[in-house]
Symmetry: none
Subunit: 139 residues, 4 copies
Amino acid sequence: MEAYREKKSITLELGSRMAEAAVKRAEQLGIKINVAIVDEGGHLVHFRRMDQAPILSIEIAQNKAYTAIAFGLPTHEWYPLISKEPALRDGIVHTPRLVIFGGGFPIKIVDEVIGGIGVSGGTAEEDIVCCLAALGLIP
Amino acid sequence: MEAYREKKSITLELGSRMAEAAVKRAEQLGIKINVAIVDEGGHLVHFRRMDQAPILSIEIAQNKAYTAIAFGLPTHEWYPLISKEPALRDGIVHTPRLVIFGGGFPIKIVDEVIGGIGVSGGTAEEDIVCCLAALGLIP
Amino acid sequence: MEAYREKKSITLELGSRMAEAAVKRAEQLGIKINVAIVDEGGHLVHFRRMDQAPILSIEIAQNKAYTAIAFGLPTHEWYPLISKEPALRDGIVHTPRLVIFGGGFPIKIVDEVIGGIGVSGGTAEEDIVCCLAALGLIP
Amino acid sequence: MEAYREKKSITLELGSRMAEAAVKRAEQLGIKINVAIVDEGGHLVHFRRMDQAPILSIEIAQNKAYTAIAFGLPTHEWYPLISKEPALRDGIVHTPRLVIFGGGFPIKIVDEVIGGIGVSGGTAEEDIVCCLAALGLIP
């Protein structure tokens, strides 16, 4: 019997460096963002809100990171998956904490999800750009 | 290091005068409204419900005021922003406390958000008219 | 930089065998229980409710398993820790999902928490006995 | 009429330095903590969880920081205030997000609350020690 399987879980060190990289990218874009990093179980590891970033985005950023690890997909890949299926499009969007627009990505080592990042505060496209800057730090 | 930044926060005095102005406008229109005033952090400062105003609108008025400060936008500007982006239109509307129809406005001094107002009870258009009457009091 | 740390996470195979062992022990005791197994992140892996086991215990069993992994302690060790500290005894008990009575145990390989088990339906003592029967299966 | 009052709000820069100082102190104590920094309105500014810090403490740390700003008192001052008043001791503890044990402090400039810090993961005494290390950074 296999009693357990091995997993990898993001460190605070990588998480905080990724969040800093996202913030630096946001500064270049001239936007104010919230950044959340969660571990592979969806639990918050690190969060930072730029001064004057929108308050409503505090929770959206965390939910994007959670959604990303919960299915292993970037959040912007959700809508193409559900838009042709009305029952999903109108139904699954009510799932608590599910975010179906861009700005959340799984953090992977090779093919294994070790955590997630969520950015909220700019447009979905800007939030994605900030995530990509952070994802570039994965060794 | 910058340890803090200066903010402005609406007083109860201005908030209550604004709410009274919104109620007076509602009386002229022959409608019954709820009016909520929040500070720049989204916390309730003042609330008044006209006799016989709809109960469901108690929470909607507060959420409109909250949404207004949370992004610094009037709530009626949300739908034009998201209607062309299906993933936002079908997704972001599920954010707790987000209201995407008219009747919520940030209260600004110059360009700084010092609070928010939310009106609910009439049509979106009537609620907006009541908000505008209140916003006219900002010095 | 350490990008990640290695973790172990319980398999469904071990989890379901443990739950079966708890149920078998409950049958011997003549009680009806709910058994929950969670992974090391607190997410449900396996659940089984014996016919006619109390409905209220469905959630209690899951919360016991969650509490066990959330601090790495059996739930019956909480009360001795807090009973001498009035502020904790009267305060921390209100933490959502925290259970401070017996029937929840971390599942450990050597010293590492790989999951948790929660049993609810009997007395705290009976629930503990059922957990112990399950814990005996850890290789 | 006074339309607004001036407030001070903690920056991400001070908040993140304070959180780092709390973590450094925790490392010296050999404990694993969660640290949350909120602004003067109780909204999350910064969060960091040390690797392997207890999951249940993620929310407790944030609630300690929230409680600290919500009344302007360190959380460990609550129990002495309510312990002699049974109706408060048994009643007010049910208030959502209120934490009545040590580990949360308002962050003040002169006498003004500009934010709050919450630490959770050690004993209440250890959590307080980590907060104090962070509070030493206030200019």
